[in-house]
Subunit: 294 residues, 2 copies
Amino acid sequence: MTKTETVGWIGTGVMGSSMCQHLLNNGHKVAVFNRTRSKAEPLVKMGAEWCDTPADVAEKSRIIFSIVGYPKDVRQVFLGESGILSKAEAGSCIVDMTTSTPALAVHIHNKAQEMEIDSIDAPVSGGDTGAREGKLAIMAGGKPEAFERVRPYFELMGENIKLMGGPGKGQHTKMCNQTLIASTMIGVVESLLYAHKAGMDMEKVISVIGKGAASSWSINNLGPRIARGDFDPGFFIKHFVKDMRIALDEARRMEVTLPGLALAEQFYTSAMAMGFENLGTQGLYKVLERMNGG
Amino acid sequence: MTKTETVGWIGTGVMGSSMCQHLLNNGHKVAVFNRTRSKAEPLVKMGAEWCDTPADVAEKSRIIFSIVGYPKDVRQVFLGESGILSKAEAGSCIVDMTTSTPALAVHIHNKAQEMEIDSIDAPVSGGDTGAREGKLAIMAGGKPEAFERVRPYFELMGENIKLMGGPGKGQHTKMCNQTLIASTMIGVVESLLYAHKAGMDMEKVISVIGKGAASSWSINNLGPRIARGDFDPGFFIKHFVKDMRIALDEARRMEVTLPGLALAEQFYTSAMAMGFENLGTQGLYKVLERMNGG
């Protein structure tokens, strides 16, 4: 990692903007692209160089990070007509930090390898706060040499940084993470609805069940928000639905049945149908409430 | 709380024995009964006085604790022919610490009130370790005066001790706790099965997903046991099934639908059918494994 070398950054949403800022704040030169240019302006004001396409970013930098929305966006950014791989040179390294499909990560890795380009899939967890504070968990998949090459950049963005295996394994780990959250959230909203229906104070119940064998990040962080009727997004329902559907697709591909994840996906699909897509994941409580006549 | 007064104790299983020991170790006189006498012998050797029936315990003590197996045992101990209420005097206080039904707790409370006897339902959480170390969570329901009367005894057994509301509310809180654990456990076993099927090392995956928004007591304490193939009981599947069925019955009584809890109960019923009733709750992994051809 030399600071004279320009780093590429594609995707300046809430997560990407914070992550890219850490690079700028540490003195790196950055070439930036985002589909909606206005969202990249704050970074440009901080010194990042604007590029009109992902291909332009690839022309200016040999290490390129991306964090965009959906797998179709990842495909566009890397494999599209003005995509990164249309211009990236041999010896470059591409790093997709979007939560996307393991299969696509492997596909991009294989395409890149044919061009002698390194490729890492490295989705994150920790939300907007983690991104802002440089405390993300980063779950990487790819070759160890490629991982070591980009690790210094990861260390500016995160704290719990691990190479989980070969190409796609970063994405697979993120799917494990989301699968675990999915059923935990069902437990959270069902236990709080039970508490409410049994005539108890939710916060008091959380103060007991949040400490022992039932404790989780979700009950202790999202539970009190539900108790206060605060459904603002930390993590959007619409994004969580995307993740669960990727996990279910991959599970089907592996012929693995995950009934709890399937139930959670159905619950959250119901949340989408009720117009709650822009609520935080704790908005699942409102679905259960309506199912129970509320 | 005076140490010259004899305290009654009914139920000397793994939990009850440890809890009662704390009373003896603190200098209290104890009158003890257990259905299987041999299990009470260690306490008798420590100085507890053996009684042949719950009624005999009630004759010797004005504050009587019980922690037995199933609601039918609770009914027998309190309302049966040689039960506590057949002999307890006005001014006594009965405390059932079994995880049992809220409706039965209310019923016993009402019967006791007619006899001018105080009644508290106070199920615990924290398992055999919590009981041994005097670190249980104790969730109580009943009248505040009655709770204050027995609180000094609770403080010898636990740390997180709360009066949750009127009669039955201790049991309701425990049901919230078990409902939360039920779906969380589905998330734990599904995420670890996914990890395994995707060719990843479970312990490495736990080291990442166990730290952020997906973290829970279950993934961090039971996950590593699953990874090691250790299915020994901390908490027996057969007891967890009892608890989930009580929670579902109460939910039905309140006309509340809890689909995640219902799914978990079905999964664990499958565990019973497969002969896993004496495994720990992490044995759910084996059910999912078999469902997936393992």
